[in-house]
Symmetry: C2
Subunit: 221 residues, 2 copies
């Protein structure tokens, strides 16, 4: 059985957890206090990050490379389309959410408010929190613009791009940082993906000292 | 014909240029002063970054997604192996160089010293330059460790991972920021990749105000 070293609110771990669950791949989850830089963990992954997937005797870091590997090894159900142009669009959007969205939104909101407290690394920087609160609006509007023309973010079928986005948004939703009233299409998209069986594990997460708001696990939010 | 909006010393543009040249795909290069946020350019790519590949009437940002698309559309010569485990290793290393190496080394050295001057955004931060100079040693040692067991970075054949690494290192070499005497195996690897026809375009780059050092274009450096 695979093992995933993870942190509950890490969007990159959540992306991998969603892919594993959607493909019904059994996995043992091991919570990792990666910021303590425990020597066993650093041996598994010198970059000191989560997620790390332990599979076939190897330790595999880097969430996007892990997801593509899972797609190669467990092709059904497919999360990567067959044609080159849509594959490009999926990968472009994964990079957009993993990089731009994460840096502009998730890092400024969740990491300032929750991770700093959990990891005991200081107080939230209010400038960053404000920047994150501004940026999340722009990103929701961008998603709304995509969803005007498409059923799912990269096209007419659900792909890894939807999981990359939902991983970020679900982490933020844990701290009530997403205004679902801003756009109906985005809310509908999130309701669809949140109601998938693959999402259940994420909705059961609880971080000590930070209880989730009631709407977090509610499918009818 | 494709068109690539690029900046000469951007490692991400260089990665795409290497892939295009290796696959002998004709491309028109258009230099983009992306930091001036010209409205035509922002229309092509709202993220305001280079590279952007213009192909088949679409504007395509995100270097890794572009490279995977080029691999899908122009499979020969292959830069992505066929088996899932080596594909994973290629993607892990691309993420390592595009993310960790870029952030710890290239951004601290090249972006502080060259980009800030070219873009007129202030003076180099000496703390960052020092951090970059320390980090490049660690990264060269890591590459040496990989190359002890492999002919190329991801295994026994040249892949996109080698281009991702060479793109970063060639940008840094333009400002003499790589100590090639540190490790023989890394120097040999770079000599091999630098002598490929695909590298010629990069070696001809000249940034006004920053002439390259004599060894930069020398294949016998």
């Amino acid at each position: 059985m695979y093992r995933l070293y993870h942190a509950p609110l890490s969007p990159f771990c959540r992306k991998v957890r969603l892919v594993l669950a959607e493909k019904r791949v059994e996995v043992e989850l091991v919570e990792e206090r990666y910021w303590e830089r425990d020597s066993d963990f650093l041996r598994r992954n010198p970059a000191g990050k989560v997620p790390v997937l332990r599979a076939e005797g190897r330790n595999m870091p880097e969430s996007q490379a892990i997801c593509e590997w899972l797609e190669d090894q467990h092709p059904e159900p497919a999360l990567m389309p067959k044609d080159a142009d849509t594959r490009y669009e999926v990968r472009r959007l994964c990079a957009w959410f993993d990089d731009a969205f994460f840096r502009q939104v998730t890092e400024n909101l969740l990491y300032e408010r929750v991770n700093k407290k959990v990891q005991n690394t200081g107080y939230p920087d209010s400038m960053k929190v404000k920047a994150g609160a501004r940026a999340v609006k722009f990103h929701l509007d961008y998603m709304a613009w995509l969803l005007e023309k498409r059923r799912w973010l990269a096209g007419d079928v659900m792909t890894l791009a939807d999981f990359a986005a939902a991983a970020q948004l679900s982490s933020l939703d844990y701290t009530s940082d997403v205004d679902w009233a801003r756009n109906e299409a985005v809310k509908d998209w999130y309701a669809k993906i949140k109601s998938r069986p693959a999402f259940r594990g994420l909705l059961a997460d609880v971080v000590p000292g930070f209880p989730p708001p009631p709407h977090y696990a509610d499918l009818d939010f």
